[in-house]
Amino acid sequence: MRQRSIWKSLAGGAAGTLLLATLSGCALGVLLSKPWIRNANNNKVVFFGDSIFALSGEIQTRLYSLNGGKTFRNYTTSGAELIGGAIAPSVEQQIATANADNPNSTVVVMNGGGNDILIPAVALDPYDCLTQWYEFGRLSSRCKGLIDDIYVDGVDLLNGLYADGITQVIYLGYYYTKNGLLLVDDLEEAVDYGDLRLSQACTNSIVNCAFIDPRGAIRDSDITGDGVHPNATGSRKLADLIWPVLQAKL
């Protein structure tokens, strides 16, 4: 029997309910996100992605501070999947909305793909993306197949950004999650393969894309008690990884 249980780990408390709503992409995904900024001080830059950016908003706050207090456009939403999401606006939908608002941004800072792996993994793990000790670090072929599909979605999305007039993309990868309210420490191999494929999506796309790998920077102590999201120090570290790359594109 697997030594994990969503029921056990989420058995009670407001924090568990909050996290579930965040991950499930229920309408509260929008409410559990920092407000979108559809018209910013600097409209050249636009953010798309999931709750890593959207839940606390601290990554953007730090970047605004580094940018002399000037804001960037922001459409990140908690619960966002890369494409299709039925309730929370997916990254693809965020891009469409942003283009309708103002098609003149040229620099994108984004992430995406994490919820596509994480949500099923914590809901019974049907693709076997959680690697148990007895699997000796081998990620299942089903999980690799899922991630390969996410790769293709990702590279097609990036090529679509190029067609929309975006010239520069900064793609933030994912760090290792930990056991917290969700027992997701066993996602390491999925995170490794996911980051490999997302970095390839970046380099294989026709847009100028820089992939930022946060795995070496983010420790367990940089992650909140839910096991997934960055806390204040984690957000600061992520922002400080992004800023030198973003600053060169401003």
Partner: protein, 238 residues
């Protein structure tokens, strides 16, 4: 009745989760979001050093442990039941969908994590990725397949406007697969005919003809040994 039940249940579960969250947000101090992991997580060896000294297995933990074991057994049974739906070749697509709905409803009943099972995207993708489902969808003509996928999405909680949007995405992906398969056939012929620099030149022209400005993406993928049109086709997903 049952056909509508999951859609209604999906919306209801999502609404309940959202309502519960609103209540939780109202009642709980913000600091609780970053509260220390529950005992079960904190007690794991990796986390012992970081756990407060006072975080120990409580004396009255036996009922909790029993409940946890029961919950794990329930989760395992549910996972097994869901995977079995995809492996059973004796049932029709509608029967599979019905069994899947029942399994999902079971998961939701009284589950504190019900919100996760109210995510139509996740539910639909799990169902669509079942080998038996794909075999049946592959056997249908394009029109019937499209209707069947729309039916599946509707039953698993997608709204009509979302179904229409996903249909557009399906159509776009289908065109990509048709184009890609023709490309792969021509690619095989060229690879059997040319070699060396001539082969590289021919393939470059071929990629440009089929993929226009996206040709460099295909070239890089192939250099990495990844041929996207040799992936398993998952109708409704890729």
């Amino acid at each position: 009745m049952r056909k509508a039940a999951l859609g209604i249940a999906s919306v209801a579960a999502a609404a309940a989760a959202c309502l519960a969250t609103l209540v939780a947000l109202r009642d709980a101090p913000v600091a609780q979001r970053d509260a220390a992991p529950r005992v079960e997580a904190a007690a794991r060896p990796d986390d012992v050093a970081a756990a407060p000294a006072s975080v120990q297995e409580p004396p009255a933990a036996a009922p909790d442990a029993d409940a946890a074991r029961a919950a794990e057994a329930q989760e395992q049974a549910l996972r097994d039941a869901i995977l079995a739906i995809g492996e059973d070749d004796t049932v029709t697509l509608d029967a599979r969908l019905e069994r899947y709905r029942q399994a999902v409803e079971s998961a939701r009943d009284g589950a504190p994590g019900a919100a996760l099972f109210a995510n139509p995207s996740m539910l639909t993708e799990v169902f669509l990725r079942m080998p038996g489902v794909q075999r049946e969808l592959a056997a249908l003509g394009p029109g019937a397949r499209s209707e069947e996928i729309a039916h599946i999405r509707r039953e698993l909680g997608f709204a009509e406007d979302q179904i229409a949007r996903m249909q557009e995405l399906d159509d776009w992906r289908e065109a990509r697969w048709q184009n890609g398969r023709q490309y792969m056939e021509e690619r095989a012929r060229i690879s059997a005919t040319f070699e060396g620099d001539a082969l590289a030149d021919e393939l470059a022209h071929l990629r440009e003809r089929y993929f226009a400005q996206e040709a460099p993406t295909l070239e890089r993928e192939e250099a990495q040994g990844f041929f996207r049109f040799e992936r398993p086709r998952v109708y409704g997903r890729n």
